[in-house]
Every structure is written in C-alpha cells, then in structure tokens.
Symmetry: C2
Subunit: 340 residues, 2 copies
C-alpha cells in the first residue's frame, strides 16, 4: 500500500551553503561539522529532517543508508537531496526572532516586503530589506491553491520552510486564522519551519468565514504569546482584525476596531494590523493614537508613499497581495509587445 | 516505517473549477459527472490521481475512505484536497498537443513566455498568449533548488503538474537533459503531468556536465519521437544544443552546430534550439537557413525586439531565464523607494 520515499540522499560537491550550514550547526553537529565547500557529501533526510551528512567516497548508498538509519536499506530507493538545507536549529530561530524585535524598534516604520516564493524572497532580501513577510494570498496564487485557508497548515509550512531556508533574514508568515490549530501547535509548526513572526486574523475562513468575537480572538493571541514564551522564542505576533474589511462604512466600526486592537494588545500582541484603512489618514491616525504598540498598514509598492505612512506614525508596513499584483502589472507591460 | 499519506480528501463547496472538471471528465466520469458548483463534495486522491469525488452530507470521512479504497480506513489520516484538480485525461493532453502543433504553423514566430509558477503562468496566459513554456532555471529559482538537474524528475513533474493544471493553454516543459530517464519514461512522466512539449539539451549536468555526441543526442531525440508516437500524443520536441554556449568563439562552431541540428531534425525533432546566439544576426540566419523546421531563439522581453526575430525567420521564441530576470529588475525598481 505504501510507496512513499521519505529517505532522501544526495552525493555531490558540498558547496558553500551546505558547508556553512554544517559549520553553523543548522544540521546536527555530529553529522559533519567539518564539512568543506570542496567536499563530496551525502545528505540523508528522514521525515524532512537531516539525519546524516556523510563525507568520503568509499561508501555505497546502501551502506550509507544502513549507517544512517537502521532498516533504511529496505526503503524503496534513495532520492537525491532536494534543494537546500532543511530546518534550522532552535538557536538560529531565537536569534532571528530577536533580530525581528530589534528591527521593529530600529525602523519606524519597518518595511517588510511580502513575498511568495524563493525567487521573490531572495530578490527582496537582496534589495537590502532586513526582514520579510510571506503573504498567504500571493503564496496561494503562486502555488495554484485558494487563499482563505485553502491550503492545509502542513502545506503552508512546507512552502514557507523552503523560502525561509533560502534567506538569511528573519521571516514572518501570514497564518490566516490559524488553520484550526491550537496556539501551541501553530507556534511549534511555525518555529520548526524557521518562521519567527506571524499574522493572525479574526476571519475564520475554514469555518464559514465567521468572525471571532473580540474575546475569542484575544484569547487565541494570548495562547500564541504563552506558547512562544514556553518555547523560549520571542515570536513577533501581528494581531490582525478584519472589522474594517467587513464593514460597509469603515468609520462606523472604528470603536469596535479599537476595542479589538486594544484587546489584542492586552493579550500580548507585538503589533496590530487593522486591514483596509491604508488610504484613510483619519482612521489610521485614530487607530495609531488608540494603542501603544506599532500599527501595521498594507501598502501598494507603486501607488503609496513611504513618507506619508511615516508622518502618520505607522510602525510597520507590509504589502499583502499588492507587491505580487504590482508585479503582475509589470509582467503584462513587459509581455505586451510580444502578444500575438 | 511508513508514515506517508497518499490518501487525500476534502469536503467543501465544490466551486466552479471542480464542477467544470467533473463535467469535462477530467476526473473519472463515474465519480461525479453531475457535480454542481454549489455542491458539497469530497475528493479522494490516491497517488496523485483523483480516485473519487463524492457528494452528499451524510457520510463520515471514514465511510468515504472505505468506499473509495479498500483498506483506506487504515491510512494514518485524511488530508484536505490540496489545490486544483490533478492530472488530465489523455484526451485533453492529445488536444493540447495538437493545439501546440497548430500554433507553431499559425504564428511565425510563435512566442511562448517562459514561466515558473502558477501565478506567472496565469499572468502570461491571461495576457493573451496561446501557449506557454516552463523553464528549468526560473522554476528552480522559484523553488530554491539548483538548476542543471538539481531537482529530480519527480520533483519537476510535481511542480509543473500544478502549473499546467492551472491554465487552459498547452504547456511545454524544459526537461534539461532528461534527468537520466529513458525516453519512454520521460514522455510518460511529462504527458501524465499534462505537458505536451519539451526541451531536450545535450549538456548532461547530472553526469558531470558532459556533452552528448551528435549521434547520442539524436538517438535520444529519436527515442522521444518514438515514445510519443507509441503514446499517441504528438508531443512537440524542441531539440536543443549547447554547442554555441560552450564555445569561446561561437562562429567557430557553426559547422558543428548545424551538424547537430540536422541530426536532431532527422531524428524527428519538431523545432531546434541553438542556445546563446540570440544577439547574432548572422549565426541565427545561417542556422535557420540550414534546417527546414522552426528554429527557437531565446529573447529578453525588454531588451529584444519581436520584429527583428521575425525578419530573421526565427520560428519560435522563448525567454529562458530572462523573463524572470527582467521581473527581478522590475521588483528591485519597485522596492527601491521603500528600502531602508
């Protein structure tokens, strides 16, 4: 019944990345701490974890598999090591989380480009941004999935793990309404994938699009805070409310929005994200005035202006789906002269 | 030892796409030919194939699994249906392959934007292009893998399957040097994933970067042609040579290039792709003059000009990594005003 191949191995020249990973103990240290870029190596992976990195030329794959994992020689076959070193040890994750905290203090606002794959992440990091966000909407569009919890938590984690592993900067992940997970499991999954920040919204798409009550959402945020504390990782929690998004008249729900934002602040959120008021100076100012932690605004990279957000006191800027959307426009412009 | 979960199920509102797939029998017809967009459905997938789509509200997942697959109730768990309908039936693939043939006759040159994920594919198809190519280099960059056969054939197929399923136009896939597969297996994997065209190059990166001899490469192309014929699918074979790429002086290897291109034409290639001469009018013209099937040129979507290629008689244009590269530049420009 089972033809899965969880055992993965690859033998090739190590290259800088793997050697660096080994030196920085992103891979278990007993495996090959002295791996050099010029070495030939074999990486053995079991259940998405590196369980062995072997150097040397004199072993057959069968011997390697046997040494790495009792019984492994019975696995259907060995596959080549997929792409990058998977998983980071907890020390690296703590350091990245601390760095993300520092950056929020250092930059006002802190701009965190919202990316969706390894290419867009490397482009943004390469452009000089000290941290990134991954958006659920552009991630889903890149993978052909539906937004609004159309992917499972496991699928999201598998996708973001590869992105996070490809850059050296802290990455925060939009986790929608939590994919039906308990806060402890959400934090465990996120941090195991190397993520050190998250968005958490109050629209539960997987449950008919119902909106959590102020207290229910605040309790979830408090659960995340406690889980992160227990894990010893200062995960940056960006508490999001969609109350403006669902309202016909945004101004009419300002009081409710402020109540929700204050409840999240009280519950231990690090920043607050009232979606859809990025074009309304008065609402942005009112919200910023009502809380004492950074307020996140969505921005369009072409249509909006950083100075305006700074003047209004916005603490943090992400692009949501708008960077990908602006890139869609750019691609269309680029392709126009070639269209049949 | 085995904790894989090949059984996947999801229960939700069907939506247009799944209903359309059921009506067009992209899913086996016994499963739910009358599925409506408003229906609640369960899709059961085994080994990446839809094996059942069940409607109705009165079944537990265990019952569904039992009905769908004897023994399935013993699987570790059911996962939600991932994204889009997987796999296309062979009729659809044949139709797409025929369409790709027609397009090569209809457009001179035929421009096939080179995409790397569902988002870029939908953007290019939405811009009006009647067919697409997937490039190994941009695909690898999007996924954080290495180009030059740094992904396994299975990984490439999994990635391109989702892209192909997300668009309604024929898609050709860059299959590098064939990932060490026999021609029959390469054609079977490609067409099972819905691909109806392929690039095949003579640099074997998985084998130390050696270059196949003219005859060896032509034999592989002939094998692809025979395998496609046997499968009854007119897969478009774009035979590539890297002889100009590896030469210090491109003009100095013109004779060898022509020999290789003619051997591929003789072996049944549908078009020919001499890489790296896109800026050299004389070499392009010489190559085009020497063969009787369309010659493919790489183009940069911003720096090159369609009319020039048309004037030179180029039959087919792809972007290789250059569309993604141009998009990298566009993203950097877009992000510049936001850089700290």
């Amino acid at each position: 019944m089972c033809d899965a191949e969880p055992l993965v191995a690859h033998r090739a020249v190590a290259g800088d990345r793997l050697a660096r990973a080994a030196r920085h103990r992103k891979a278990p240290s007993y495996l090959a701490p002295d791996l050099q870029p010029s070495d030939t190596y074999v990486v053995v992976i079991w259940n998405e974890q590196i369980i062995d990195i072997l150097t040397g030329f004199d072993r057959t794959l069968a011997e390697i598999a046997r040494r790495a994992l009792p019984g492994a020689e019975h696995m259907p076959r060995l596959r080549r090591f997929r792409s990058s070193v998977r998983g980071m040890d907890s020390r690296t994750t703590v350091e990245r989380a601390q760095r993300l905290q520092q950056l929020h203090a250092e930059f006002k606002p802190l701009v965190l480009p919202t990316v969706w794959d390894v290419w867009s992440a490397r482009t943004a990091a390469g452009a000089g941004f000290p941290a990134l966000t991954i958006g659920s909407h552009p991630l889903a569009d890149s993978r052909g999935a539906d937004d609004h919890e159309g992917q499972t938590f496991e699928e999201v984690l598998a996708a973001v793990r590869a992105i996070i592993a490809a850059v050296d900067v802290p990455v925060s992940v939009d986790l929608e309404a939590g994919y039906g997970q308990e806060p402890t499991d959400l934090i465990a999954g996120l941090t195991e994938a190397g993520g050190v920040g998250l968005n958490l919204e109050d629209t539960v798409h997987s449950d008919g699009g119902r909106v959590r009550s102020t207290q229910e959402h605040a309790r979830y945020i408090a659960g995340l805070r406690a889980a992160a504390d227990d894990a010893g990782i200062p995960v940056w929690v960006n508490g999001r409310t969609d109350v403006f998004l669902h309202a016909e008249d945004a101004s009419g729900v300002l009081d409710e929005a402020i109540e929700r934002l204050r409840a999240m602040e009280q519950a231990g959120a690090d920043s607050l994200y009232p979606v859809r008021i990025q074009d309304d100076d008065d609402l942005l100012a009112a919200v910023i005035d009502a809380v004492s932690i950074p307020v996140n605004s969505t921005a369009h990279p072409v249509k909006h202006d950083l100075e305006r957000f700074r003047r209004l006191g916005v603490g943090r800027i992400t692009y949501g789906p708008l960077l990908q959307l602006a890139m869609t426009d750019a691609m269309k412009d680029m392709l126009r002269p070639w269209t049949p």
